[in-house]
Symmetry: C4
Subunit: 207 residues, 4 copies
C-alpha cells in the first residue's frame, strides 16, 4: 500500500510539472516576440542602414538574454525542487499557479526594458524590470515553502538539498530589491546585478 | 484482460489530457501578449511619464490576473475530472474540443476588456468579457456530462466527487450570466463577480 | 526480444507524436491572435459602437471556428493513425514534418480570410484559404502513405481502419480543390464547403 | 542497482528532452507570426490586388520554409543525440540552454530576411539570417561535445553514430559562415546555401 501511495503522489506532481514545463517553455519562447523588425522606408533601406538599425537593438538582445536565462534557471530549480516532492495539495497548486502567473508576465517587463533602455526613461524601465523579478522571487520563495512541507516530501528527499535551496533562495527577494533600487542610480547597474544573479543561481544548480 | 482494458482506457485519456494541457498552457501564456508597451515619443519619454503610463495599464493587469486564474482553475478541475475517467469516445473528444476552442478564445475578450475598461464603452467590454465566460461555463458543463457517463468512468471513480462537481458547476452558467447582466449596471461590479467566482472555484478544488 | 523491438518502436512514435501534438496545440491556440481588438478613438468609444465593432468581426469568428475544428480533427486522425504504427523512419519523419509545416501555416490564411471576407477581395481570400487546405490535405495523404507501410505497422494494426482511412482521406484534396474553385463563384459557398468537410471528418472518427 | 542508475539517468534526460521539445515546437510554430496580412485600403481591395499582394510575399514563404526545416531537422538530431545519453549534468544543461536560446531567436532573423529580401538592404538581411545560423551551429557543436562525454553516455550508445555526428556537425559553423559571406555577394546565393544545408542534414539523419 505504501508503494501505491508513493506512485499516486508521483503521478500528481508529474501533472503539475508537465503543465508548469509547458508554461515555462512558452514564456521563454515568447520573449523573441519583443524583437521588432526595424521599420524604415523599404525602398530607401540600404545594407548599411539595416546593419545600423539591427545593431541599435542591442538593449533588446541584452534584455532577451537576461530574461531567457533567468527563467531557464528558475525552471531548472523548479524541477530540482519537485524531484523531492511526491504529493500535491491545493496550497502547492495555488503557490505554483502564482509563480506561473509571474513567469508568464516576464516577457512584458522585458519588452518595456528593451523599448526604453536608450531613452531618458531608462531608470524607470530598469526599475520596472528588476521590480518584476522581486515579485517572481517572492512567489518562488512561497512556492518553495509550499513544496517542502513534510507530508508532501518524497521518502528519498534530500534534507541537505532542501536546506541549501532555502538558504540560496532566501536571498532572492532582497537582492532583486537591491537591483530595483540600483535602477534609480543607473539603469545599467541594475541590469548588471540581474545578470550577476542568474549566473550565480546557475552556478548553484547541482547536476 | 480487465487490466488491459483499464490500461488502454487510461492511455486514451492520457493523450486527450496531454493535448488539452498544452492548449491550456499556451492560452494562459498568450494572455501576456495583450499587454502593450506604452508608446510615447521615445526621445521625450521620462521616468515619470513611463511610470504613469505603466500605472495606467492597471485594467490590463487586472484583466490578465482574472483570466489567468479562471483558466488555471478550470485546468485543475479538468484534470481532477479526467482522473475519474478511463475511456474516451467521440462525444467526449468533441465536447472537450468545444471547451478548448473557448479556452483559446479567452485572451481575446481579455484584450478587449483591458483596452476599453477606462473608456465610455466599459460596460460593453465587461459584458463581452463575462459573456464569453458564460459560453466557457456552458461548454464546461457539457464536457462534464460527456465525461461522467458510466461506461467511461474508471473503476475507482468517486461518486461523491462526481456529485460535488455536478453541483458546483451547475451554478457556472447562471452566475456568469449574472456577471454579464451586472456589466450593464457597472463594469467593475461585473469584474468583481468574475473575481469572486474564480476564488470560489479555487476553494472548491480538493487537493 | 520481439517485445523489445515493439517497445522501442513505440517509443519512437511516442516522440514523434509528442512533438506533433505540441505543434498542433500551439497552431490551434495561435489562431486567436488573428482577432484584433477593435480600434476606435478611445475617448469617443461608446458601448453601442463597441458592440457594433465586435459584431462586425463575425468573419473572424467564423474563420477561427472553421480553422480550429479542421486542425483539431486532423490532430485526432493523426493520433488514430499513429496508434497503428510502431516504428518510424526518415520518410515518415519527413512527411510528418511537411504536414506540420502546413499546419503551422493555417493561422495565416485564416487571418487573410478574416480580414478580407467583407471586402471586394473576398473571393481571392476564400480561394487562398481553401487552397491552403488543398496543400494540407495533400500532405496529410502523403503522411498516411508514409505511416501505413507494412514494416512500420504495429502487430495489432487494424486492416479495416487502414482501409477506411485511405478511403476517406483520398477525397480530401479533390474536395478542398472544389472548395477553392467554388470561391471564385462565391466566397461563402467556399467557406460552407470547408465547414461541411470538417463536420464530415468529425463524424468519420471512431472513438 | 545498475538498472536504478540507468533508469534515473533516463528520467533526467527525459525531462531535458521534454522541455527542449516544447521550445523547439513553439519556436517552429511562431515562425508563422512573421507573415503579415497584406494591408491595403479594405474598400478598394480587389481579388486581383490581394492575389498580387499575397504573391509578393514569396520571400516570407521562402524564409518560413527554410527556417522551419532547419529547426525541424535540428530537433531530429537533438533527439537522436540524446537517445545515446542517459545522465545529465550542469554543463549539458547549460549548453542545451544556450542552444535553446538561439533556437527561440530564429523567428527574428527570419522576419528580418522576409521584410528586406526585396529591398536594397537584402544583402545585410541575408547576412544577418545566415549569421544567426552560424551562432546556432556553434552552439549545436558545443551541445554535442557536452552530450557525448563518456560518463553521460548510455551503455548502448553507438560509437559509430557519435563519430558520424561529430564529423557532420563539425562542418556546420564554417558552412554557415560561408553562407554569411556569400550574402555580401548575393542575398539569394546565401539563401540557396542555407537551403542546400538543411536538405543535406535531412539526408544525414538515420531513421
Amino acid at each position: 500500500m505504501q508503494t501505491q501511495i508513493e506512485s499516486q503522489g508521483e503521478k500528481e506532481t508529474g501533472r503539475l510539472e508537465a503543465f508548469s514545463d509547458g508554461v515555462f517553455a512558452i514564456a521563454i519562447t515568447l520573449l523573441v516576440l519583443e524583437l521588432k523588425v526595424p521599420s524604415m522606408p523599404l525602398a530607401g533601406a540600404t545594407s548599411a542602414s539595416l546593419a545600423k538599425a539591427l545593431f541599435q537593438l542591442w538593449p533588446s538582445y541584452l534584455a532577451l538574454v537576461t530574461s531567457f536565462f533567468t527563467v531557464l534557471i528558475m525552471w531548472m530549480h523548479h524541477h530540482a525542487i519537485l524531484r523531492n516532492v511526491h504529493r500535491t495539495d491545493s496550497r502547492l497548486h495555488f503557490s505554483n499557479g502564482c509563480l506561473l502567473l509571474l513567469i508568464t508576465f516576464v516577457p512584458y517587463p522585458t519588452s518595456v526594458l528593451a523599448a526604453y533602455l536608450q531613452t531618458p526613461a531608462a531608470k524607470m524601465a530598469a526599475a520596472f524590470y528588476a521590480g518584476s523579478f522581486v515579485l517572481v522571487a517572492i512567489s518562488f520563495s512561497i512556492f518553495i515553502y509550499g513544496a517542502f512541507r513534510p507530508h508532501l516530501l518524497s521518502k528519498n528527499a534530500s534534507a541537505k538539498f532542501i536546506e541549501a535551496t532555502h538558504r540560496s533562495y532566501r536571498m532572492g527577494p532582497p537582492l532583486y530589491l537591491l537591483a530595483t533600487l540600483a535602477a534609480f542610480v543607473d539603469a545599467r547597474l541594475s541590469l548588471g546585478i540581474c545578470t550577476v544573479l542568474w549566473i550565480y543561481w546557475a552556478a548553484v544548480i547541482r547536476g
